[in-house]
Assembly symmetry: C2
Homo-oligomer: 120 residues x 2
C-alpha cells in the first residue's frame, strides 16, 4: 500500500477499509483482518492500525469485540456512502472546480481524461 504525505497514514488505512466496505469486499457483520495482520500487510506499526480502528469505531463504521476482532457495523455501508458523498461534493469537488478555473481547464478536457482513465 502506498501512502501520501498530505494525509495521516491511519486515516488512509481507514479510507482503504471504507472502500472495501463500499465495494462489498467487506460485508456488514464480517470480521476484518486483525491489527497485527493489517500492520504487517501494509508495513506499518500496530499502533497506527489501532488508531485506524479507533477512528472507524468513532464513525460507527466498525465495532470491536475484545478477544474476537473488529467487525463491520450494521448500517456501515450506508454510513460510509453518505460520509464520502458529503465530503466529495462539499470539499473535493469545489476544490477541483476552483483549480479548473485558475488553470483554465475546460469540462471537455476532463471528459477526455475520464475516457483515458476508464480505459486503463
Amino acid at each position: 500500500m502506498e501512502f501520501r504525505n498530505q494525509k495521516a497514514i491511519y486515516l488512509q488505512i481507514a479510507d482503504y477499509i471504507c472502500e472495501g466496505i463500499l465495494s462489498g469486499e467487506y460485508q456488514e457483520g464480517e470480521r476484518l483482518p486483525s491489527v497485527r495482520d493489517f500492520a504487517s500487510q501494509v508495513e506499518v506499526n500496530v499502533n497506527t492500525v489501532t488508531r485506524s480502528f479507533d477512528y472507524l469505531q468513532q464513525k460507527n463504521v466498525a465495532v470491536s469485540r475484545r478477544g474476537l476482532g473488529l467487525f463491520v457495523a450494521t448500517g456501515a455501508r450506508e454510513a460510509v456512502y453518505e460520509m464520502h458523498r458529503e465530503e466529495f461534493f462539499s470539499e473535493h469537488l469545489p476544490e477541483i472546480f476552483r483549480q479548473m478555473q485558475t488553470l483554465g481547464i475546460s469540462m471537455d478536457e476532463i471528459q477526455s481524461k475520464l475516457k483515458d482513465f476508464t480505459n486503463n
Copy 2:
C-alpha cells in the same frame, strides 16, 4: 485565511501566493508582502511564512533579496502554471475519478454541480 488540517500551513500559504501569481495579482519582478506583513495578515507565525518563502525559492517561483524583500521570479507564472497543471492531472483528477467510480457518481452529476458552482 482559512486553513485545512490535511495540508501543512506553510504549503497552503505558498499555494495562495502561487494563485496570486497565476491570477496576475502578483506580476513577475514585483515585490511580495514582507514575511512580517504576511504573518500578521494571515495570523500565523513569522517562521511559518519564512518556510513558505523558502519553499517558493526552492521551486524557482520567487527570489529573495536581503534587506529588500521577496520578489516574483521571472518565468514564475509559467513555472507555477506547469507545476499545478501537472499536479492536477496526475494526482487530483485521478483521485476524483476513483471516488466517482466508488460512489457511483456520473459525469452528468458533475456537470450539474459545476453549473451551481459557477453561478455562485
